[in-house]
Amino acid sequence: MIDKRVRDLAAAVAGIKDGATVLCGGFGAVGEPIALTEALLPLGVKNLVIVANNAGTGEIGIARLIKEGRVRKVICSYPRTTDPREFEAAYKAGKIELELVPQGTLSERLRAAGAGIGGFYTPTGAGTNLAEGKETREFDGKPYVLEKPIRGDVALIRALKADRWGNLVYRKSARNFNPVMAMAAALTVVEVSEIVELGALDPEAIVTPGIFVDRVVVVR
């Protein structure tokens, strides 16, 4: 029987290693897998590369990992955090690297990893600082920048409901980066409010089919 449910947070994050590239869903704190992210602390992992839209909010989730010195690098579109500014403090102290990626390019690079695309040309960023060092090429007279996939060793995702096959639905704007990150990692771990019976989710309305999901844990 296919059963992706795991007992607790420790089982959910088991096996994640030092230096892992960790995709963290959410837009600000909405849809952020805070419990899973903080479960990396007792696991003891360090030198993490965090891929997320933001670099943590307040003192929780990614911000806490940064505060505890577990993060080597952040790949994100907008690292300005609300107080206390854990990322900014670490950044100014030269203790953390930043790769700044436009939000749509971040999303598309993650999708490329999930979709088996080796690279793609986007108009975003052409002629700007963020295209420096990247190949630029014209198609139909318009400049495009070559961007590469961002693949995670693990994706930490928050959803509303799951079933034992790992099918997921989300809630309102808490969907955000979660579905595309679920596709883009070798191991996808999901925290959900509720697990429902197989067949209870409408097959027309499943947003993330279970094929992208490895482990599901309930976090109330």
Partner: protein
Amino acid sequence: MSENAPKPLSRRQMAWRAAQDIPEGAYVNLGIGLPTLCGDYIPKDREIVFHSENGILGMGPAPAKGQEDPDLINAGKQLVTLLPGGSYFHHNDAFLMIRGGHIDLALMGALEVAANGDLANWITNDPHAPPGVGGAMDLAAGAKEVRILLEHTTKDGAPRIKQTCSYPLTAKECVKRIYTNLALIDVTRDGLVVREMVEGLDLAGLQEVTEPKLTLADDWKKLTAPTV
């Protein structure tokens, strides 16, 4: 500036003015800050579909007290609502809409705009703060039309409409229209064309606070807005 002291628009009046130009049925993305205020001033007989890059179409106004939903926010992370006909989707589809030219209009704030429509709105040269770009480059490069709202000058009176941007660019040659507290200016192949100016301002006065050469449209009007 002319003798008869001109009366600049307030920030809310700038938003009001930009809102009047949003056409019926348009798919519109409002940038964080000043552009977001435009949503408050859409003429009542127009149906506009607001897009948010965190996965919403058909975004409505702020929720009534007691109706707040923490899972329903806009790109500025303010609580919002969903109108009937609205939909949710993931970030990748939200930016597909932007990059693919499906957004009719992006209204954005700016640090500077150049004579050729170059836009600088994502980073100052402050070495103390980490840079943040968000969705600005995607919107500037991808929307069908980009219009900018900005104070005509800095607090020190220096022009924000420049021959060449001094700040790093967000996108090249993307701006089509500029709403300031003093004027409404179109970026055209023939340069910057002033369509509207506030009462008490003449072209010479406006040119004084604008770096590139301005042309006055034959059918230029007074830039006015109600008290809002």
